[in-house]
């Protein structure tokens, strides 16, 4: 099993009090594969349905964001490789 990878970057280094802070997290895992399962239903007469496809992520990653100043970071978006979090300075 390979180890996951992560980087974190803020959109600034200094914030005014009350300003919005954005945190961009890039992450991934070599083992993390998207598997597509295709299902076809066939009846006794041999009639088959159209194939239906579903995707499943095997071994998804869990992201945890903590802040030693006690600020709460809320997830704005996450596409499986890049997640963006927001907090108030």
């Amino acid at each position: 099993m390979a180890a996951p990878t992560v980087t974190a970057s803020l959109n600034a280094t200094t914030y005014a009090p009350g300003a919005q802070m954005l945190l961009t997290v890039n992450y991934g895992d070599p083992d993390n594969k998207v598997l597509t399962v295709t299902v076809v239903v066939t009846d006794a007469q041999g009639n088959s349905s159209a194939p239906a496809k579903v995707s499943a992520v095997i071994d998804p990653l869990t992201i945890t964001v903590t802040d030693d100043s006690g600020r709460t970071w809320s997830r704005v978006s996450d596409n499986g490789a890049v997640a963006v979090y927001r907090a108030v300075a």
Binding site: M1, P4, V6, S9, T14, A16, A19, L23, I63, T64
Partner: protein, 345 residues
Amino acid sequence: MPRVTVSVRDSSGQSATARADYTVAAPVLGGYYLGGNADPTADMAGGAFRSLTQYRSFADGHIFPGYNRPWLTTLGRSGVRLNMVLELKHYGVPDTGPQTFTVDGVSYTVPAPAMTIQQRPGTVWPKAYGYGQVLAGQCDGLFARALSQYRTMGFGVNVQLASELDTDHEFGTTEAGKSYTWAESDARAVQAVTYIVNWFRAKALPQGATFSVGLGGFDRPAFQRTHPESLMSRLDFLQWNVYATSPGHTALDRFRRTKDWAVADLGPVALSRPVIIAEWGVRVAEIPDQAAWIATVPPAIARINAERGPLIARMNYFNSGWGTLSPKAAGLAALRAAYARPPFG
């Protein structure tokens, strides 16, 4: 410095961690100036006014707190941060002759001011103590008098030397019959300001005493010339003034103009210093709804301070001249509302 930690973990427990550090700046101090160095206490009441600008001439025998200005001491003791603009420009005394006075038992004689500044054609050129006079030690008595009064205040202030060197030098200067160009005047002023700061710093100063040099900030080469690293190492703040005088002027553009020049042109010592906006204002002739413009200031300052470069730390609304609030009540209400919002506090 706060730190945000991001961990990713898979189902087998393998993980990776990344960290990012950040700084949350101190709140910007919203401040004020009332025309004529008048008592601003009533105007500041009920609002988060935490900073104040005042103007004095070194020629004036009453610099701290100023003649009939006990309220300045009261405001300072209550935590309002004072930006005292001390000028070589000569005013506050009846005549421009030499002065003889005693400070803490020592008698000083200071010659008549030998320089003219603000030499705009068609105007009467104001007199000022000359940079050559300062460097020759002829003005030490003025500094001694100011320092003696300063020590009675009981708290430190920021001493801003000169109001706007660019305004003073824009049309050249003349000292003892010799003319100097704008650039030459800037170079001479840097020497004189260095002399004055060194003079004060060699003495015992009230706790929290800081220094800066005054610029309008409207001319990029002059701003660069007056902020060499050798001088900035002795100063605590950058400073410039900001006015909106055209219908198209936005708060973001006006406040960032001089900062952008500074970031591009100045050295690391200068850029490590926070910024005092000693004056900012909205001219009602071109921008009738001053309150609406003032309401755009907090987000503009927040955005500018979120960008690379020196942080705006204090900014004092100039309720006089170009910044005169008219109607005053609406303008003051807008200032109170603005100073109640981030990044003020």
